[in-house]
């Protein structure tokens, strides 16, 4: 039996409220199916399932708020095993309302579910009784997992905070922050003091992420002017044959060119966590600015295996949802590099701040007409200034330079993308 757990969409995310089950008991699910809609700090998120099987039991009710890591449903991988199910289900139930504390401690929780008897110090038992705290919901930090006075007091504080956060009007944006920030706790602490508006929540998430980046990542910056004449001519031709709703924008071409270049310079498709860890999938985060201020970074999964047209379709789907703060769990996490595209009519170039733990961010400026010299000739060309900010702990300028060279090559041969 597989447990389907409340997913973490970033280290800041402590809990989520189940808004709606999209599947019912007996339904067959496969990887990628939307199983539930959950309200988080980053908005209403459609939660995908990563296992296959038949839903045996739904462990929490709609409207219930549970910590990250809490089993939400049981999925039977082969649709049988009716016997063992009930037992597991009832045991798991005890974990549901586990205090928020350590989101990344599934093992502790599992251990607890097996140990039905509750160990607690006398003083802890007394306080719990006085304050109406259910000891079975608490993970003990004392000897042999015994619940201590501190554990109970923490649970009381958390209980109070949970009821406070329930009043938050638009928890949607906090999700962003979780997304944006799989890192530190401080910003969350600040937020808990009062309910933030969506714009404030996003602002503070961006602030936390960018501060961390600037504090920890030694950035190096590179820039390359890229002649866009051929790419724009190719796009014009292609768009002429496409119906309006399928027209391409330069952003789709940029994303595809970045993905293809990462195939060649894989060191930049990575994260820095106890050293450089290369990623197999090329999942590109694309910065979307919100009209109310702030940014959100949905991901284009496996961009290298998609065509430019397919990437455009993803953008058409994902950008409006990103702006409405309605993204799926997988669309807010998992990116392995970020692209920021300032777009036409605005700044000529943008020097990005890396989104940790990634190791690079690629910036595309405004596509403008510029004097461009080539082969001893000077002409007016459509040009874009592409920048790369790299994490110098992870790679050196020469790597970034190879990447920009490769990117230029692809943009000079758009039909090869």
């Amino acid at each position: 039996m597989t447990e389907f757990l409340m997913p973490s969409l970033g280290a800041d995310m402590e809990d989520g409220t189940l808004v709606e089950w999209r599947k019912k008991i007996g339904d067959t699910v496969k990887r990628g199916d939307i199983i539930a809609e959950v309200e988080t700090q980053k908005g209403l998120i459609e939660i995908e399932v990563f296992d296959e099987g038949v839903i045996e039991k739904l462990l929490i009710k709609e409207g219930e708020k549970v910590p990250v890591g809490t089993p939400m449903a049981l999925i039977n991988p082969d649709g049988a095993e009716v016997e063992t199910k009930k037992e597991t289900a009832s045991k798991k139930k005890e974990v549901e309302l586990q205090p928020i504390e350590e989101k990344a401690e599934p093992k502790v929780m599992e251990k607890l579910t097996k140990d039905i008897r509750i160990k607690a110090t006398p003083i802890a038992k007394k306080i719990a009784e006085d304050k109406g705290i259910d000891l079975s919901q608490i993970t003990g930090s004392g000897e042999n997992g015994a619940i201590t006075k501190d554990d109970v007091e923490n649970a009381i504080v958390q209980k109070a905070e949970v009821s406070k956060t329930e009043k938050v009007e638009a928890p949607v944006e906090k999700l962003i922050e979780a997304e944006l920030y799989k890192m530190e706790k401080q910003p969350v602490e600040v937020k808990k003091e009062r309910a933030l508006t969506p714009a404030e929540a996003i602002r503070s998430a961006v602030a936390a992420a960018m501060s961390k980046s600037n504090r920890e990542i030694p950035h190096y910056y590179l820039e390359k002017r890229v002649d866009m004449s051929k790419a724009m001519a190719w796009m014009k031709e292609t768009n002429r044959e496409r119906p309006i709703e399928k027209r391409l924008l330069p952003a789709a071409l940029f994303i595809k060119a970045v993905a293809s270049s990462l195939d060649e310079v894989s060191e930049l498709n990575a994260i820095w966590e106890n050293g450089l860890q290369l990623k197999n999938e090329i999942n590109i985060g694309f910065v979307v600015s919100l009209r109310t201020g702030g940014i959100i970074v949905p991901v284009i999964i496996q961009a290298d295996s998609k065509s430019v047209g397919e990437i455009m379709e993803v953008l058409n789907d994902i950008i409006p949802r990103a702006r409405a703060l309605k993204l799926r769990s997988s669309e807010l996490s998992e990116s392995t590099i970020t692209i920021t595209n300032i777009g036409e009519g605005s700044a000529d170039k943008v020097f990005g701040v890396i989104y940790p733990p990634q190791v690079a961010i690629i910036g595309f400026g405004n596509i403008t007409e510029q004097a461009f010299a080539e082969n001893g000739m000077l002409g007016i060309r459509l040009v874009v200034d592409v920048t790369l900010a790299g994490d110098h702990r992870a790679t050196d300028g020469i790597t970034g330079s190879r990447f920009l060279g490769s990117l230029n090559k692809y943009l000079q041969n758009p039909e090869s993308l």
Binding site: R240, E245, L249, A251, S289, G343, E344, G345
Partner: protein
């Protein structure tokens, strides 16, 4: 369809894309995208929805002809007229 009706459709579609703005306050010669802060993605969505509403397909090379409210209305009126039997 007259000018007023087209204008109303334009305002309605722009409001959908930029809900925080007041498209009806646009002056005839102001650049729509600049004033309402509309990016290339939203601009394309606007052109797609104009096509859905009015059945007018605006080719890419005509984007330069529809940058202000006045020019956009004139462009659409012209196109609608040419569609008449």
């Amino acid at each position: 369809m007259n000018e007023e009706e087209i204008k109303n459709i334009i305002f309605q579609l722009l409001k959908k894309i930029a809900p925080d703005t007041e498209p009806s306050e646009l002056k005839p010669d102001e650049n729509i995208r600049e004033v309402l802060n509309i990016d290339s993605f939203d601009s394309l969505q606007f052109i797609v929805s104009l096509n859905e509403k009015l059945g007018i397909e605006i080719p890419e090379e005509d984007y330069g002809k529809i940058s202000t409210l006045k020019s956009l209305i004139n462009y659409l009126l012209e196109k609608l007229k040419s569609q008449l039997p």
